[in-house]
């Protein structure tokens, strides 16, 4: 094995170790004294995830409202059916928005 191959391998290894170790070694500036970062993240996790889920549900509901409107405009839904479906969808969307508000 030539010297330059050993040097290159060592450099790659050092770079990989540096890249992987950096986040573990880094100290967070906003870290509260006496409280582990992990505990804070864990506490924030479920609320953050629930909010992300609600935002995804909100986006999907918006799309559904628009698709129902498009279905109506291209003649796939009667006006009566469209009104009923649209009202249901909007009520479901409002419920999602209320839950999002309560998560804030």
């Amino acid at each position: 094995m030539s010297v330059w191959v050993v040097v290159v391998i060592a450099l790659i290894l050092a770079a990989v170790v540096a890249v992987l170790a950096a986040p573990v070694r880094a100290r967070r500036p906003d870290r509260a004294p006496g409280r582990a970062t992990g505990e804070r993240d864990r506490a924030a996790g479920p609320a953050w995830a629930a909010r992300a889920d609600l935002e995804a549900a909100r986006g999907a509901k918006y799309r559904e409202i628009r698709e129902a409107e498009l279905d109506f405009r291209v003649g796939k839904l009667s006006e009566e059916d469209y009104r009923a479906i649209d009202a249901t969808l909007r009520a479901e969307a409002v419920e999602i928005l209320r839950r999002l508000d309560s998560e804030r």
């Binding site: 094995m1 191959v5 290159v8 391998i9 790659i12 290894l13 990989v16 890249v19 992987l20 170790a21 950096a22 986040p23 573990v24 070694r25 880094a26 967070r28 582990a36 970062t37 992990g38 505990e39 993240d41 864990r42 996790g45 479920p46 953050w48 995830a49 992300a52 889920d53 935002e55 995804a56 549900a57 986006g59 999907a60 918006y62 799309r63 559904e64 409202i65 628009r66 698709e67 129902a68 498009l70 279905d71 405009r73 291209v74 003649g75 796939k76 839904l77 009667s78 059916d81 479906i85 909007r90 969307a93 409002v94 928005l97 209320r98």
Partner: protein, 724 residues
Amino acid sequence: MATLGRASLLLALGICLYGIGAALYGARTGQQGWLESGRRAVYALAGVLTLAFAILEAAFLRSDFSFDTVAAHSSLTTPLFYKAAAAWSSQEGSLLLWAWLLSLWSSLALFLTRRRLREVTPYATAVLLGFGGFFTALMVFYATPFATTSPAPANGAGLTPLLRHPSMMIHPPMLYSGYTLATIPLAFAVGALITGRLDAEWLGAIRRFALASWLFLGIGILLGARWSYAELGWGGYWGWDPVENASLMPWLTGTALLHSIQIQEKRGMLKVWNVSLVLATGTLAIMGTFLVRSGVLSSIHAFGASTLGVPFVILIAVLIATSVTLVLRRRHLLRSEHRLDSLLSREAVFVANNVVLVGLCFVIFWGTYFPLISEAATGTRASVGPPWFDQYTVPLALVLVLLSGIGPVVAWRRATVAHARRNFLVPTLAALVALALGAAGGALARPGALAMFCCAAFVLTAVGQEFWRGTRARMAMGQESGPAALVALVRRNRRRYGGYIVHVGIAVLFVGVAASSSFRHESELSLRPGQTTSVGPYHVRYVRPTAHLGQDPARTGAVLDIGATLDVTRHGRHVTTLNPTRGYYDSNDPTQGSVGHFIGGDPVSHVGLSAGPLRDFWSAIEPNLSTADLQRYVTLGNRTIPFVRPDEGLYVIALMARHYLQNPPPAQFHFLASPLVSWIWLGGLIVLGGGLIALWPAPAAVRRRVRAPVAAGLARGLGRPESA
């Protein structure tokens, strides 16, 4: 360089093991630093495997025969174009390609989700690194691409001539991209199941990757079919070969998923079904790799019999067991939120389409794995051929195409009978017109094909009607011209109209399949120069033999290319001139003699093809080089010319070719006149275009404009300001 390659693989394995540990530890403790470190392990894996792949590619391009895999799959005479592709024709190289693509796509997925799915991502990271570790371990312990021999041989064995086709340059990377992309939704599904975060977010995050996987698999399948048609010399594009089936199965379940995922997004239904489809698609992708790489099934594709079977079987067993356990454990979180409002709704059509797609997959699965099962049970390998597949897949394909026309004209939730009647009227009339035209054209003798033409007419009209009505609605709403309204309609509803375009492509493709398989004329016979034969309405005359030494027209590196010039006429009028050839390659095998080795490799057909929008005329030749006159050149040459004088060996081959031209023996020909084969490739391109439209993200400005009216209306209802 080989040492650097081996070190890269060892480092890659170490990174995988570390990354799995860091991601799981981070998930357990919630420490952001470890989670980030786990994610970075995937990026580092991509970097290290890129280096390893670059080293292997460089070895192939430099013809560095000290690498065993280069010596076994390339040679000095292999054209440069194919040297680059030879890297993944080998067992070891294809494993490296798989791991490399996995690392790239995984890095992209984790980068795009770096601020989302905070609970799910660490487990997904661990699963993806698990796959990476598996393939890297195979290369470290079983099949390393960096094994070397010293001293290096002067020349290599060369790339399998069958693979010297442009489609084969792209086919494996496309298929492997499809396979590796299919593991990303699987990884996120496992993460969502472990954490119980099975709501809307994870599904939204994986949709694009599922679509990209489906798209790449589709391109790979189509390229494989094109290769089979143009290279294999049997005239078909699909033979129900196990390896073809292996790529089709995850494509089918992926298609089902792309439809049923919309039902969950909109209605909160089919959660167990969707997560099962995600897991099944990922597992089928691994099984596809297993079929090709384990050598477990004898097939034209399974070039490399290997010892990788047991590790793959263990991986697949772990995947299935984990998937079933997780789904059962989380079934309480996977209950449907709603039920079907009406059987006349798009949801109902999607459910039917899912049943058909999964049914197709099951049939193909059984037909593909039955030989294995029967061999395991009885010791005798039974096999099922195309007729067995056709009897089940043809009716299911008919239903599938029909459903792809019904779906677009039915509304979500519920549709009234009156509206349905109005929406179905024109497509049904189009189907009836197709029936009448087909019957008048003599297609009644082929009821399956005629039914497919009717279904396709229904689909094309239904989708055309959707575009027309959508465009008209936009024109009525604003001041847009027709083309501007059409473009805006598609831009603002990419998923819907991209999907419709895919349906058009599928209908066109199946028309091509039905017509070309039901109405083709075929002839196999022996001809001498000057003789003529009939193929359906065509007359073919063998005008003269041809021979090229060292410069085959297809530029595949054939030493000798023997062929024929054919004149094709119809009703006395010239249609085309064809030049099918058969390439003879250097085997680089000294036991075949100093002359014999030049043409001792596997010969490959280069078909003569005249392709048109309405019909293809296809021809292949198998010259007879085994006559005593011709073999005498090889025998005498082997006896008198030393290996160290390859120029003299080639001179003998040239003399042999001249003798063939002056005294041509009868040659065996295979002719096919097939209608609408081009529609298969055209349909595939339309599918690709539709898939790209559905995949391409709308610009943020367009998304805001689209969402703003709905958001504003809802905000007014809530009595507060709202932004989209």
